[in-house]
């Protein structure tokens, strides 16, 4: 047939097709990097628990797998990015609306949030406590030439950054606070890392009966959207509790709380009124702080 003719006429065809609908696990080669930061946890109290580090660290190779255990994160990512962009800057028409902003992605994992923020022009620092995640992030970020100049990663914690005196135009703590041991301490660190007048974005899951049913039972047990044990319902926290903690810290104003509605059948996520499940909030630090 003619198509076979075409194939044989092509020289040294080495491409093996990977159909996107074909469920495949692929192994990503992660370069070994010096695990200096793992040693530091043995001696310091940090807001991140060792088990959480291990849990997400093991997933390092699977972060970017579109059918992997973190696929729902990829599904909700565009909605999160869109929200952050809209609540941070006024010029929505530019290709690089975040240009000139230095941003921190705390709990960045393998860079699922960091990469788009960098493409939108921000100068992004991605920080995670799991060394393997950081290694995966660095490895993946080398694929896209657009990420060369304004994206960097560090294996560290929020507390360590505060000690170094770091401050950013915006701090994104998305899908992180439900994995930390001490949310109040974590929020204090995040607040300290925001420049006066800068923004803090937090997204997490509310602690309600409905979130137990959908995000734990539904997602982890029935629909297999997330691996079992991904979330601990006891660590979920609602926007009112976060607001209370922030009021205690002082100088941080909550601008809005928006729900994130995820449809597992269409794999689409959209902003919606908050109904006790996933949500994202915009907080701004006073200029005078």
């Amino acid at each position: 047939s003619k198509s076979k003719q075409t194939s044989t006429n092509m020289m040294n065809l080495t491409y093996r097709a990977r159909s996107l609908n074909h469920k495949q696990t692929f192994i990503r080669r992660i370069p070994r990097i010096q695990n200096r930061c793992d040693r530091s946890y043995a001696t310091e109290i940090s807001s991140v628990t060792a088990s959480e580090i291990a849990k997400f660290g093991e997933l390092a190779q699977r972060w970017w797998d579109p059918q992997g255990p973190l696929r729902t994160l990829h599904h909700i990512n565009p909605t999160r990015i869109s929200y952050v962009k809209r609540n941070m800057v006024s010029d929505q028409e530019s290709i690089t609306p975040l240009k000139g902003k230095r941003m921190l992605d705390i709990g960045c994992g393998a860079g699922v949030l960091s990469e788009p923020l960098a493409r939108l022009g921000a100068n992004v620092v991605g920080v995670d406590a799991a060394a393997t995640s950081i290694a995966a992030a660095i490895s993946h970020s080398q694929i896209d030439p657009l990420l060369k100049d304004n994206l960097s990663y560090r294996c560290s914690t929020a507390e360590d950054l505060v000690k170094e005196g770091e401050q950013f135009d915006a701090v994104c703590a998305l899908e992180v606070i439900e994995h930390v041991a001490d949310p109040a301490a974590f929020l204090a660190s995040c607040s300290a890392l925001v420049k006066p007048g800068g923004h803090l974005f937090i997204s997490t899951i509310d602690k309600t009966p409905q979130s137990f049913l959908t995000v734990i039972v539904g997602a982890e047990y029935f629909l297999n959207l997330l691996d079992r044990g991904t979330h601990d319902w006891n660590k979920f926290i609602g926007p009112q509790d976060i607001t209370t903690i922030l009021n205690g810290i002082g100088g941080m104003k909550v601008h809005n709380v928006t729900g994130l509605a995820y449809n597992p059948l269409t794999e689409k996520c959209s902003e919606a009124p908050h109904v006790g499940m996933n949500y994202i909030m915009t907080i701004q630090k006073d200029n005078t702080s």
Binding site: K2, S3, T6, S7, M10, M11, N12, L13, T14, Y15, R16, A17, R18, S19, L20, N21, F26, R28, R29, W64, P66, H74, H75, N77, P78, I81, S82, K85, E93, I95, E115, P116, L117, A118, R119, L120, S139, H140, I143, D144
Partner: protein
């Protein structure tokens, strides 16, 4: 055409400067200026959605300045019985149902537009010799060309027709079949302009008379291969007689429901027996213009439209029977959707060759295209039947549909690509 339309769309947005688009043409595009005054054989009928695309990319004015032929009504009828459907745009302020445009006018306009776009680079001649992936599944693609260049890209779009090299190199299978039919195309001239698209279904296949610029019309006549050979070889006056029979003669269904093979040149009473509720007869043809040609007809559908950092649009993804004039319009719709998905991705900082972007394109287009293909195939098989009960039901169906304006309005909406 579809690939160039996509490239033009990717160059026509306020977000375009974030993209560098390369267009690989296997041969250098011939200089089409000045445009020959003679009508060209290859035409397509373009629906409103495709015209919107041309306008959005800044190529429509170039086409209008060359020549386009709007048509305002359509008549579909068949060889037996009295059933027919007449369409117009039902009082819509925009009366145009569509345009018939020569392929070379579209190609020329798009090509000229691409030369004006800063972020689009025309590479011609440039053919793909080898496609290589990196070790990481998310790595960019490396294309080695026959001309010896190495191109790296985050997204390769295959718009290279139904024998797509891109589709074959990522081993996406396609299914389909060859129709035992060939499409004979010819240009004819009337005494005055034709502004209606005519299509008559015969037992051997449909014959379409599509209005072109001036007094010209384009004929697309679907015939079995042997008949197609005969018709191709006829001298002009004999050819015109056959066309006249095909468009006007009332066929006697006979008792058993089999039709006489009236393409054998026997004297056949060419009664201008328009069926009772046929509002019009197609305009008389004065002369044939230029040569005729025939092309094979097939249906084809790729099992996937996307692969790692690869997307297929147009005939590379799907090929349909020309009876509905939809084929290239489906391709333009693919281009529109892929452009939207890409720009949505850019707005949220995505890697535009990533799986989520490509899956979104596939989800939106595959179903829509399959539905259209099933519809076209269904119509073809319905009208292929010579079996009397079916032809009677067909005619009743045609007449009933003709009487039901809301249904006709919906049909026009679908054909114009707006649903």
């Amino acid at each position: 055409m579809v690939g160039n339309a996509l490239a033009a769309a990717l160059g026509s947005s306020h977000l375009s400067s974030s993209l560098r688009v390369g267009v690989m043409e296997s041969t250098v595009t011939a200089d089409l200026h000045p445009l020959s005054p003679n009508p060209d054989l290859r035409v397509i009928s373009v629906n409103a959605t495709s015209v919107d695309l041309f306008q959005a990319v800044g190529a429509w004015d170039k086409m209008v300045n060359a020549r386009v032929a709007p048509f305002y009504s359509m008549q579909v009828w068949e060889s037996t019985g009295n059933g027919s459907i007449n369409f117009d745009n039902f009082g819509d302020p925009e009366p145009t149902l569509g345009y018939v445009i020569e392929n070379k006018v579209i190609q020329s306009a798009l090509h000229d537009r691409l030369k004006e776009l800063r972020n689009v680079r025309l590479l011609e001649p440039c053919s793909m010799a080898n496609l290589q992936m990196g070790k990481d599944p998310d790595d960019w693609l490396t294309i080695t060309t026959k001309e010896g260049q190495n191109l790296r890209t985050r997204l390769l779009v295959g718009a290279d027709g139904n024998e797509s090299v891109v589709r074959n190199s990522v081993k996406i299978p396609s299914t389909g079949w060859h129709y035992n039919q060939r499409g004979v195309v010819a240009v004819v001239e009337h005494a005055s302009p034709n502004t209606t698209a005519w299509q008559r279904f015969l037992p051997t296949g449909p014959i379409a008379l599509l209005p072109m610029y001036g007094n010209y019309s384009n004929i697309v006549w679907t015939l079995p291969p042997s008949r197609a050979e005969v018709v191709l070889g006829l001298p002009d006056d004999a050819f015109l007689t056959e066309v006249d029979h095909a468009l006007r003669s009332q066929l006697d269904p006979g008792i058993l429901g089999f039709f006489p093979n009236f393409f054998v040149p026997v004297p056949f009473p060419a009664k201008n027996n328009s069926p009772a509720n046929l509002n019009n007869s197609p305009p008389l043809i004065e002369r044939a213009v230029g040569k005729r040609a025939a092309f094979p007809l097939r249906l084809q559908h790729a099992s996937e439209y996307v692969a790692n950092r690869v997307a297929l649009i147009g005939d590379a993804a799907h090929t349909v029977h020309p009876l509905a004039g939809q084929g290239v319009n489906l391709g333009f719709a693919d281009a529109i959707t892929l452009t939207q998905v890409i720009f949505d991705g850019i707005e949220t900082g995505q890697d535009i060759g990533s799986h989520s972007i490509l899956n979104e394109y596939q989800n939106r287009r595959k179903n829509a295209n399959l539905v259209m293909m099933a519809g076209i195939e269904g119509i073809k098989r319905l009208f292929d039947s010579s079996f009397f009960p079916i032809s009677m039901a067909r005619n009743i169906g045609l007449s009933m549909t003709n009487a039901l304006t809301p249904i006709k309005k919906q049909i026009v909406k679908v054909a114009m690509g707006s649903s």
